[in-house]
Symmetry: C2
């Protein structure tokens, strides 16, 4: 097993190679810095059109980085990867019920599976820091807070439900800067979906997170909400397809492309 | 039949109503100014996943504005429209062969058809003019020149082939401005795919257009190429699906959303 320091020194390709050899089975945060990390969702091809349509109709929570050809576990655009083994850990659901958290999915792969790689807002955090926008969750060593809203997504076939959002407290004078920067990253959830009063989007208590840690806000901070990659997992779990495979949260696909490259794709 | 002046005075919704009553069967250029006009492609649901995947993999030539639910000819996001009758004229292809150019497609509509509305670069022309970027084709009363390139699109299932581009001559000092403005319109083909020497992308002679009129260039103009909505028609025709319906070129769907609204979608 690699140490965090050893893993953090590797290129994305080398790191995926070590992950495939089961030499890294932990979260990918802090690894291959500057490179995009992607959410994974795998579904039978029978559901693939409706899921892709759902993503097309809801591009803020579901920015599609790449879709595999049906039956082919390989991708090549954002990462030259074998999606059966190149993530540290997976979750396997049958009819919406979690049945396994394996370190590879070779035994589950089938000729009719389609893999979707979706963007993640971690991608623009480096650009925010470079521009002087503080990130309170990093300053305090906490996980980004995630909430369910009452904002309905546009449905597609069996896929429907509410949008999840992440929240970053931002000093009022830097909200414009945050919007400018995130607007360059539509494939990483892009610009905020809401700024200010959480109750407007159905969040009664910022302390009651759905995922992550409760936020720490400084005087003068405004809550800024971005659509979150937890949304497609909520939506897909609710639709309860016969088989669905995702990454284990925080155990993502480390991609070859950088955030800067993604901003031009 | 309405006069052009009468048609140009109507809101998008009223205009679509007149088109559905067959009171307007001509090109939609110059109508409902400021509002988005969309390309139409209708395919059987059997091909829908691969076509949507093709669009996802090639967002510059194929920006997806909206996709109908299978069997439902109505859309609601960019226009509250019945796609069977709200365009002035259509083209119907069987196995890639043109068989009809009707003014409505009610007799061809089926329960398994899916309609795709794709963006068009006319959407950002108003913003270019406002910013002082001259549009030579409008100055000289010509149609925008369109070319086939040797740039291969990313294939998806049976859909594959080269990208088509439109070309606008732009003064060298205004190329940056054009990139800045078009970057706000990813759903209208977005930023140029190439600036300068046409031979780099397989165009040997700017006078030999595939569609439209040969360009007129002023001294100091640079050729600027944008991915073009002719691409998906070329690709789909080559795949020769059992049935395919498109708009007749220049006879587009007039949408309710404005270009400015689209730039935020």
């Amino acid at each position: 097993m690699l140490s965090h320091g050893e893993a953090a020194a590797l290129s994305p390709a080398r790191l995926r190679g070590e992950i495939a050899k089961e030499n890294w089975q932990k979260p990918t945060a802090g690894l291959a810095l500057g490179h995009v990390q992607a959410n994974l969702a795998v579904l039978p091809s029978k559901q693939a059109f409706n899921f892709l349509l759902f993503c097309q109709r809801n591009p803020k929570p579901c920015p599609v980085l790449e879709v595999s050809d049906p039956g082919d576990p390989h991708v090549a655009r954002v990462a030259a990867a074998d999606l059966r083994s190149d993530l540290p850990r997976y979750r396997v659901y049958r009819k919406g019920k979690l049945i396994d958290e394996p370190t590879d999915i070779k035994q589950y792969w089938r000729d009719d599976l389609v893999a979707f790689l979706l963007g993640c807002s971690f991608t623009f955090e480096e650009a925010l820091l470079s521009a002087g926008v503080p990130l309170r969750h990093l300053e305090t060593g906490r996980a980004l807070p995630v909430y369910k809203t009452d904002v309905q997504c546009q449905p597609a076939g069996p896929f429907e439900g509410v949008m999840a959002v992440s929240m970053r407290p931002v000093p009022g004078s830097l909200v414009s800067r945050m919007v400018q920067i995130t607007s360059r990253y539509p494939l990483a959830h892009g610009t905020p979906v809401h700024v200010g009063d959480p109750s407007t989007i159905g969040i009664e208590d910022l302390g009651a997170v759905y995922y992550g840690d409760p936020p720490v806000m400084e005087p003068g901070d405004v809550p800024v909400f971005n659509a979150c990659g937890v949304t497609p997992q909520l939506i897909a779990a609710r639709a309860a397809p016969e088989l669905m495979i995702t990454h284990l949260p925080e155990h993502m696909l480390v991609c070859d492309v950088t955030g800067e490259q993604l901003s031009g794709m």
